[in-house]
Point group: C3
Chain length 446, copies 3
Amino acid sequence: MASKNYYDVTEWHVGNPYTDIGEVLNSIIADIKSRQKDTDHNEEGKPGAVIYIPSGDYHLRTQVLIDISYLKIQGSGHGFVSSSIRFNVPQDQWKDLHELWPGGSRILVDLKPGEEEYTGAAFLVKREGDPRISSVEFENFCIDGLHFVDDGSGDPENTYLNGKTGIYIASAQDSFRITGMGIIYLEHGVTTYNSDALSIHDNFIAECGNCVELREAGQASKITDNLMGAGYRGYSIYAQNFGGLLVASNNIFPRGTSSVHFSGVLRSSITGNRFHSFYPGMLVFENNCTENLVSSNHFLRDHEPWPPMQGYDNGLEDDYGLLRIEGTNNSIIANHISETIDTKYLKPEGCVPSIIHLVSGTGNYIASNHIVATTQNTQEKAAGEDSCFDAQVGALLSVSELQELPVIAVLVEKESVKNVVLDTGRDSQIRMDRSKNVCRGIPELM
Amino acid sequence: MASKNYYDVTEWHVGNPYTDIGEVLNSIIADIKSRQKDTDHNEEGKPGAVIYIPSGDYHLRTQVLIDISYLKIQGSGHGFVSSSIRFNVPQDQWKDLHELWPGGSRILVDLKPGEEEYTGAAFLVKREGDPRISSVEFENFCIDGLHFVDDGSGDPENTYLNGKTGIYIASAQDSFRITGMGIIYLEHGVTTYNSDALSIHDNFIAECGNCVELREAGQASKITDNLMGAGYRGYSIYAQNFGGLLVASNNIFPRGTSSVHFSGVLRSSITGNRFHSFYPGMLVFENNCTENLVSSNHFLRDHEPWPPMQGYDNGLEDDYGLLRIEGTNNSIIANHISETIDTKYLKPEGCVPSIIHLVSGTGNYIASNHIVATTQNTQEKAAGEDSCFDAQVGALLSVSELQELPVIAVLVEKESVKNVVLDTGRDSQIRMDRSKNVCRGIPELM
Amino acid sequence: MASKNYYDVTEWHVGNPYTDIGEVLNSIIADIKSRQKDTDHNEEGKPGAVIYIPSGDYHLRTQVLIDISYLKIQGSGHGFVSSSIRFNVPQDQWKDLHELWPGGSRILVDLKPGEEEYTGAAFLVKREGDPRISSVEFENFCIDGLHFVDDGSGDPENTYLNGKTGIYIASAQDSFRITGMGIIYLEHGVTTYNSDALSIHDNFIAECGNCVELREAGQASKITDNLMGAGYRGYSIYAQNFGGLLVASNNIFPRGTSSVHFSGVLRSSITGNRFHSFYPGMLVFENNCTENLVSSNHFLRDHEPWPPMQGYDNGLEDDYGLLRIEGTNNSIIANHISETIDTKYLKPEGCVPSIIHLVSGTGNYIASNHIVATTQNTQEKAAGEDSCFDAQVGALLSVSELQELPVIAVLVEKESVKNVVLDTGRDSQIRMDRSKNVCRGIPELM
C-alpha cells in the first residue's frame, strides 16, 4: 500500500542524479505518466507526485520537461552563497575559503544554451491543450548557473550573461508555486508566460541577470516576501500585460537595471516593499500602465560602493526619473524615497535629478510621499580595502555629513495632464503646468 | 530508536487510505493518544505527531476528529485545478482534457452532510477543557469537495452549495497554522471559532462558497499571503468579534459576495491586499466595527465577464457602497479604488454608485485615497467565445476607451458624524453634512 | 546511491536524542564535515545536509555548534502552548490539564548558562573566515526554555529570565532562514550579529524575554509574517546599525517593553504590521535613526488586563511617547494609532500622554496618521474571574462606553526642527515650535 507517488532522485533506478539529474527527473516524470493515465475513475484522477532532492550537488545536463499538473519538486536547502563575491576574490585566495560553490539541494545547470532562450532552461514547463497545466510546485532547492560568460569586456564573471534560465514556464498555467528557492548565477531566474494565480513567495533570487519575468499576459498573481538582486542589465521584477498582480513585502537589493518594471500592467499593486538601487529608473511604468497602486514602499537610490562593479551601470541618466510613469490613473501614496549621491556621480554633469517623473498619461495621484535627497563628498576607497559586506553596510549607514541635494521631487511632462500632486515635495521642487495639473506642495516653513 | 511520531497514511495498518482516509487518520490519532498519555515526566509531555499524506487521491468517508495538540498533517501538493472551468466545459469535451480533477495530496470529501454544519466537515477540531487545543498544523495538501449541488436552478455545479467544509475548528484554539493548502469546491473552506494566534498563510482557497470564516470571537491572528476566491453567496474573509486581526498581502479575486466582511471587529488591520470583486459591498464593516485600519489596498470592482456566471451576483445594488462602514474611529488611508463598469449594469438603473459609504458611527478618518471610476460601452460576447482566462484577462486589461463614470466618492449618512475626509475625491463628489463632518476635497484644477 | 545528506536524529548511531539531542546534532555535523571536505571538484563543493527532527521531546544538554554552510535543521511542528498561562494556573489543577508542556518537534533547553550570554544558547552559529557562513536554515521545530527563574520577586515563572537563548548567531552570516519555528520561554529567542539577507519569516516567537535581536550591524534583511510577544523587560524586535531592514506583516502582541526598537538604524521600513502593547514606547528610534519609513501599521496601546502580569511594566511613563523618535528624515505615514486607557493608570498621575514624540533630529515627515485616544472607567476584576483568553479578548472588544482621552498627538522637542506634520491630530493637539516646523492640523469642524 505504500505510495508510489513519492520519489527520491537518489533512489531512482534510471540514470545517475549526480552526473545528470535531468535524465533522472525526466525518467521519473515518464514513470508518473505511465502510471497515472485515467482522468476519471470514481472521481479520482491523475494526482501527480512529489520528487525529493536531498542536499547534494547534482549536475543537470539534460533539460527537464514538465508537462503534468500537480508535480512537486522539493529539496532541503536554498543553498545560496555569494558567487559574485567569490569570483571577485583573487584566485590564489580560493584555497583558504570555507566553500566556493553554493550548496543545499543544488542543481548545477550544465546546459549549453542554443539560439532560443528556452533551450538554456534547467526546467522547462510546456503543455498545450486544456486545462492549463496547474499547481506545479518548486520548493526549497537551489538552481545554480555556475558561471557567467565573457561579453568582450574581459570580466566574464561580472557580466550576468550565460544564456541560462532556472525555471522557464512557456505555457499558460494556473496556480503554480515557487517557494523557498535559491536561484543564482543565471541570466534569467524565473521566466513565465500567461500566468494565472502564480505565487512566487519567500525565495532568494540573486546574482542573476534577471530575477523574475512575467511575460505576455497574466492575472491574479503574487510576488511576495522574496529577497532579490539582479544584474545591471536585467530586471529584478518585470511584468507585462498583467492585471491584478500583487508585489508586496519584497526586499529587492541592487543591482538590477530596475527594481520593478511594468509594461502595460493594470490594476496591480506594489506595496510594502523595500527597494534599493544604484541607478535611476527604479520603478518603471511603460506602455500605458494604468490604475496601479504604489504605496508604503521604501526606495533608496545611492551609488555602487563595491569596486568590482563600479564600472557598470544601467546606462540611464539622472533626469530619467527614479520612479518613471507612462500611464494613467496610477496612485503613488505614502512612500519614502531616499536619494543619496555625491554630485560627481550624477549624469549628465550638474544634473538636478528627477525623483517622480510623469512622462505621459493622465490622472495620476501622487500624495503623502516623503522625498529625502542628500549628498556628500565621498572618499574613494582603494579596491579591496573593505569586504563587500563592509562596503555595502558602510555605504548604507554613512549619514553623518550629509547635506541636502537639490532634486525635482515631481516632474510632469507637458504630455501628462490632470495629475494630482499633494504633500510630495515643496512647491519649488515640483515642475508641472499648474493650469493642467493640481498641486499642493508641502507647506513652507513660516 | 526510530521515532514512532512520524506516520504515513499509505503505510498504516488499519483501514485503506484510498477508500477512507478518515478512518486511517482517526486510527492514527487514537494510536498517538494511546502512546502519549503522560503530561509530565522529566518535563516531557505529549508532543503529538506528524501524519504524511503523499500525492494521491484519498476518499474521505469518515470525518476526522482532531482533539490533540501539536498534530501536524502534511501533504505534498495543494493540487488546485479549476473545477469551475471544467464543469462549464461541455461534457462531451471532457475526454480531451488533460485532467478533470484536482490533484496533489488530495482528500476527496465524500461525506453526506447532516443537518448541522459541522457534520459536513472533512476535519473537525473539537476539544473542551484546558488548555485550549494548540498548535495543530495543516500543511500543503488538497481538500476537494468534488461537486456542488442543485438549489433548484438546474445549474448545480455553479451553486457553491454542498454542505461540506474543509476544516471546521469548533473549539477555542491557540496558535494553529494552515499553510500551503489547496481548498476547493466546498461550501465552507475554513471555519473557526474563538481563534487566538491563528495563522492562515500562503494558501490557495478558491471556488469555495465561503473561504475563511472566523466566528464568535478571537484575537491576535493573521490571514496573510493567500490567494482566495469565493462564490457569489459567500464570504471570502469573514471575521466576527475579533480584536487584533491582521489581513495582509492577500490577493482576493472574485466572486465572493464580499472581499472582507467584519462584524463587530475592533483594532484590526486590512493592509497591502489586492481585492477584486464583481459586486458592490467589497469591504463591509457591520455591527459597530471600531478602530480598524484599511490602508495601502488595491480595490477593483468591475463586471463579471464569464458567461456561465453572468446570471449570478450578490444581490446588492450600487448605492450600497463599495466600502461600507458601520462603525467608529476607523481609518481608511492610502488606498486605490477602481470601479469600472458599463452603466447598463448599474443597479438600480441610472444609479450613481457610492464608493465609500459611512452608514453609522463617528470619527472615521478617510484620507489620501485615490478613486478611479470609469465606464465604457462593452460588447456582449457570445458564450464560449473566449476561454475563461482570456475573458478575465481581457476584462482586466481593457482600458483604451474608458470614460469617467460619475460616482459619489464618499457618502456620509446623517447618522454618521464627526468624520474626517481628506484628499479623497473632489468636493463635488463628497456628500455629507459639512456642519458635522470635516471635508477637504482634492483641490480643483485652476 | 541513496543520499547520505539526509539525517534523522532518531536514527543516528551516536548518542541518544531524547536525553541529549545536542550531542547527536554535533555528531551529525562532524559526520557531514568528515564526508564533505573538497571545496571544488567538477564545480561540486560541500552542499551541507538536512537533519530531520520528528515530533517528540528532546532534551538538549550540550550546545549545538553550527559552523557549516547550507545545514538545514527541520522538524514537524512548532509546538506552542502557553506556558505562561499554565504556570499561572494553581498547581493542584495541573492534573486536569490536557497537556502541560509545548510539543511538536520540541527541543527542551536543559543548559546551565554560564557568565557569557552565548553559553546559554541551544544553537550557537559561529565560524570565522571567508566566506561568511551562508544559508543555514531552521525550520518548523520548537525550542523551549522550560522555566524562567526567580529574580528575587518570588514569582519565577513570570520573570522572563533564565539566561537561555534559542538561536545565537555569533558570526557574520549571509542568507540565513528561520521559518515556521516555535520559540518559547527563553530569555532570548533569536539573537544575531552582522546579518545580511536574513529572513525571519512566519514564526511563532512568544513568551520569551526578548524575541528577535539583530545586533552590531547588518543589511538587506526581512522580519515578516511572524507572531511575536516578548516580556516586559525585553524587546519584541530589536535592530542595531542596520540598513535596509524590512519589518512587515508581523502581528506583535504584548508584553514586550517595545514592539520595535531601532538603534542607529537607517533606510529601513516598518510597514503593514499590527502592534499591540501595554506600555508607552511601542516604537523607539534611538541613536540617530535616519530615513526610515513607518507606514500602514496599526498600533494599539492599552492596559494589561491579565491579573498575574498586572504588577509588571516596562517602567516608562506616558510622556515618553508611544512612537518616540530620535532621528532625522524619517517618515511616519498612514498609520492608525489607538491608545485606550483608564486615566487612573496614566503615569505620572494626570499626565497627558504623548503619542508621536520627536525628541531630536530634523526633517521628519509625519502625515496622514489617525490617532484615536479613548478612556473609560474600568471595573477591577478579581483574579481568576476570566480565563486569560477571555480577559484579553474582552479588553480588546470593550468599546461601548469610551470617551475621548486628551493626548498630545505630536510633541516636538525644541532640539528637533524642520519637521513636517500634516493631517495628524488637530492643531490643538500638536505641540511644536511653529516657527521651526511645518504643521497643518486636521481641519476643525466648522
